[in-house]
């Protein structure tokens, strides 16, 4: 079992990684923790560091797609968390199937209608579950025309949906979006870009 974070750039610090580790290691005591980062300074020693790939050079959230590469050192089940997530209680009852690529359903967008060419989506990749080795095709597809995809899509969620990647969603209630509160008893609060003080 692998639990993975991505820390790229200056928006989040080692404190965010360490706090998530401290909380999640309670509920996943046997997991191997990883952080994919170019700056491992002050990340606690219990979190294994994966240096950011020399190539391709990617910015911000696009680095998350590298986690699907077979070159990553994971074995078996993989669980990713964005760094602006607050663990309130044990999320494992919601995260049971790693055989398919599973992502949060953005419940706060359920009632919205989007034109196809707006490329908006109703998923949120702040938590992702998958099995290592099973999603290399995502990384391969991205690499074929990455420059175009980064122009066309505002983020990886839109890329995943509109490039027809097979996606499952977690049962609603796994997260409570702080900006759109509905699931007050959710095990995870999701700040989704809102300023988040530790």
């Amino acid at each position: 079992m692998n639990i993975i974070f991505v820390k790229h750039g200056e928006l989040y610090s080692s404190d965010h990684v360490n706090l998530l580790y401290n909380k999640l290691s309670i509920y996943y005591p046997h997991a191997i923790f990883w952080c994919y980062t170019e700056n491992p300074y002050n990340i606690c020693s219990e979190v294994n560091i994966i240096p950011v790939l020399i190539k391709p050079t990617l910015k911000k959230w696009w680095n998350k797609l590298a986690l699907f590469s077979n070159d990553m050192p994971f074995e078996g089940e993989c669980l990713f968390f964005d760094l602006d997530m607050e663990i309130i209680s044990d999320p494992s009852s919601f995260i049971t199937d790693y055989t398919k690529l599973t992502i949060i359903n953005a419940y706060y967008k359920n009632e919205l209608c989007f034109e196809h060419h707006a490329y908006n989506v109703k998923i949120n990749s702040s938590i992702i579950a998958w099995t290592h080795g099973g999603q290399q095709h995502i990384w391969d597809k991205f690499l074929i025309n990455k420059d175009y995809y980064m122009r066309k899509y505002a983020g990886i969620d839109r890329f995943l949906v509109h490039e027809n990647i097979m996606i499952n969603t977690f049962k609603d209630g796994i997260v409570n979006s702080v900006a759109n509160k509905l699931y007050e008893n959710a095990p995870v609060n999701m700040y989704n870009g809102i300023s988040y003080s530790l």
Binding site: L58, K60, N145, M150, R151, K152
Partner: protein, 213 residues
């Protein structure tokens, strides 16, 4: 006059994409703003700037020009206008759709344009001895090591005309330069024949250009 044809072709292309989209839900509508961006004033201005300065420096008629990262090939007509319709111009881009769209945009424009879908570095490496001029107006989109490798591998007589910028907020700009000096420095040419900066007319960023050997 060739620019008028280019714009007319762009409008036809966009019209066709829209018409197809009415029957095919999988039509890539993003190609519409992408084509508009490729032919906008600032893009054409920066490419005309390249051709204007390059043509002052080149004393011999080139036989073979390679444009790395050519997008939809809008530089092609400007090069053909400056150097004649007989010079071979390879327009190389890794995006597989650039070839079809590029051919539509350059339809009825005189010139020996050859669209290639390939990694620009790999394409250039296999033709090192034959290329008179190597152009790259997309350095900010490419790995710095790959850009440097192109310069290191080239024939000493091949002239390069490269552009980059300091527009860091764009996600696909993975290799910007903070200033012209940084761009000149990492290219590490044997001889810089010309260098300069072109501020964007409306946005707060600069385009840099270096011509040399």
């Amino acid at each position: 006059m060739e620019l008028v044809t280019l714009y007319k072709n762009a409008l036809k292309c966009i019209d066709n994409i829209y018409r197809v989209s009415q029957y095919d839900a999988d039509t890539d509508m993003f190609r519409i703003p992408d084509i508009i961006n490729a032919t906008n004033d600032s893009q054409i201005q920066s490419k005309q700037w390249l051709v204007d300065e390059l043509s002052k420096i080149t004393t011999e008629q080139p036989s073979w020009i390679v444009v790395a990262g050519s997008w939809y090939g809008c530089l092609g007509p400007l090069l053909a206008d400056a150097y004649g319709e007989d010079v071979r111009i390879d327009l190389c881009d890794i995006d597989p759709h650039c070839k079809k769209i590029g051919r539509d945009l350059l339809k009825d424009i005189g010139g020996d344009f050859r669209f290639k879908t390939a990694d620009a570095l790999e394409w250039f490496i296999s033709r090192l001895d034959k290329v008179s001029i190597l152009i790259n107006t997309s350095c900010e989109h490419m790995e710095r090591d790959d850009v440097k490798f192109m310069v290191q591998l080239k024939n000493p007589d091949t002239i390069i005309a490269f552009q980059s910028n300091d527009y860091t907020s764009v996600m696909s700009h993975i290799n910007t330069s903070p200033n012209l000096e940084d761009f000149i420095d990492y290219l590490n040419l044997d001889e810089v024949l010309w260098s300069g900066t072109l501020p964007h007319p409306h946005k707060n960023y600069n385009r840099f250009m270096v011509i040399g050997k």
